[in-house]
Amino acid sequence: MTPAPRRLATLALAVLYAAVAAFFVVPLWWALVGSLTPLDDVFRHLAPFDLRALWPTHPTLAAYVALFRDHAFGRVLFNTAFVALATVAAGLVVNALAGFAFAVMAFRGKRVLFVAVLVSAMVPAEALAIPLYRVVGSLGMLDSYGALIAPAVSNGIAIFLFRQFFAEIPTEIMEAARIDGAGWVTILLRLYVPLSLPVTIAAGLLLFVFQWESFLWPLIAAHSPNVMVLQIALANLQQQHSTQWTQIFAASSLAALVPLMLLLPLQRYYVRGIVGSGVKG
């Protein structure tokens, strides 16, 4: 290529890269800026469009104050964090135990059970929300923390992640410990758990994000204020106060910042986790 067309191609490529990055970043950035801006400014800088829409010229926390004062977001955040953390804590134990059994131990029906676990992970949770409503209802658990936590604890993908990780640990040490008379619980706790920080982070993030983002299930199974979670409170806010853009921005920013603060520093584990669940599977 002659220099001029080559420079043109480089320019076109640069524009493409910039446009793609803007597409992914600008909406959330705009929401974050809007959450820190007086409501009038948000509208003023859009009619006509003005770059000050992307910078808080008169920063204020009024929208956040209103969320906590008028819309009980303190309680909502507590509920969401409690449900997510309880799911992670219980889920790590339950799925690690199953992953360990699948990876290391010998028992009849192993293949069939493992395939069943993988198939169950392919069925999308939303498709099962309505029948699940009847199952959880007949257990008398609707509208409680339990209704939100219990169905999310066992997770086929988390079991898969633990199984893959444990299966790669050489069995010689384990066999030596068996000969020395160590029990299975000791082997799991002393030999396997200390090595499993990466898979624990990946599976923990998976369980956390699943719970933090779920919508249809809490919408139908837990709507009373004392168990309401963030995504549902956000939907209610939009439906009841649709003109309060800054409050919607503030609630959206809160809902996005927590997972982002976890995912950006830990993204390598998370990415390895989701890739592990897909490409190999």
Binding site: F24, A47, P259, L260, V279
Partner: protein, 305 residues
């Protein structure tokens, strides 16, 4: 049961003990999956065979055979909803796979700048679909939202976006792409980076141009990741619910009334559980069929070397 066990040798003390401990370790996880993942499928199919009726003794649930499916077949709203579901999926699934591949090719480079760029592109992974929908709702607000303000600067008249039957589905596709494409890109990128550089170099030495190298070397080796992304993406998009609930309420005039939203509406707004479970059953059967077909397609189809 006994015969195959004996073939593997006698079940002496330690082996039987190991097996018992293994089942104990599996019990909590498998019980949870059985109760909350497998049994609801049974509940959907069984519940679709019953119907609530109002008698002089109050409401009762009675066996109705296939009556719920019969009234689905006779309901034009169901057929319209089925078509919207298929239309959405015929567009969005190939589109997201293609865009994820494009984005993966863009960021498949070494260096600090690209690492930072990748981080920016991955921002939507941390944003839930409800948040994405609500932020984009204001971005696309027909009266003075961000996008119309920007279009105004370029001299383009304001668009109705999700408030018009013609643009509502495309608005939802836009939002789902914003949320989804970089997530799926991660899988494609992993596939790209697993391709040995020597293969591409060898093709280059043989005189293959960049396009030929992509079509003959890269694409066939990406078959696995692309199939995974297509199937997993389809499974998610077939039951898409959040944007329909938060943005369009299935409208305008049914333009975004997908089966998942229709099932929710029938079950929880109209209170007809039998009918809602019949729709869920149809949805599950449809999903099984489509996923099986996709696996077949990739098995026979392109790029098998």
């Amino acid at each position: 049961m006994a015969a195959p066990a004996e073939q593997r040798g006698p079940r002496t003390g330690p082996r039987r003990h190991e097996e018992r401990v293994a089942y104990l370790f599996l019990l909590p996880a498998l019980a949870g999956l059985a109760l909350f993942r497998v049994y609801p499928i049974v509940e959907a199919i069984a519940g679709a065979l019953y119907r609530d009726v109002f008698t002089s003794h109050g409401p009762r649930t009675v066996f109705a055979g296939l009556a719920n499916f019969g009234s689905l077949v006779a309901d034009p709203v169901f057929w319209a909803s089925l078509w919207v579901t298929l239309e959405l999926n015929l567009i969005i699934n190939p589109l997201q796979v293609a865009l994820a591949l494009g984005l993966a090719l863009m960021v498949d480079r070494a260096g600090r700048a690209v690492r930072l760029y990748r981080l920016l592109v991955l921002v939507p992974i941390g944003v839930s679909l409800p948040v994405a929908t609500l932020v984009w709702r204001l971005m696309l607000d027909p009266n003075g939202g961000f996008v119309n303000a920007l279009l105004g600067r370029l001299g383009i008249p304001p668009q109705p976006f999700y408030t018009s039957a013609g643009q509502a589905l495309w608005s939802i596709i836009l939002i789902a792409n914003w949320k989804g494409v970089s997530y799926w890109m991660v899988f494609v990128l992993a596939g790209l980076q697993a391709i040995p550089a020597e293969l591409k170099e060898a093709a280059a030495i043989d005189g293959a141009g960049p396009l030929q190298r992509f079509a003959r070397v890269t694409l066939p080796l990406l078959r696995g990741p692309l199939l995974f992304v297509l199937v997993a993406d389809t499974v998610i998009n077939f039951v898409m619910f959040v944007p329909m609930y938060l943005l369009t309420r299935g409208g305008p005039s049914g333009a975004t009334n997908v089966l998942m939203y229709q099932a929710y509406k029938v079950g929880f707004a109209f209170g007809d559980m039998g009918q809602a479970l019949a729709i869920v059953t149809v949805l599950l059967a449809l999903l099984l069929g489509v996923v099986t077909w996709q696996f077949r397609l990739f098995d026979r189809g392109w790029g098998r070397s």
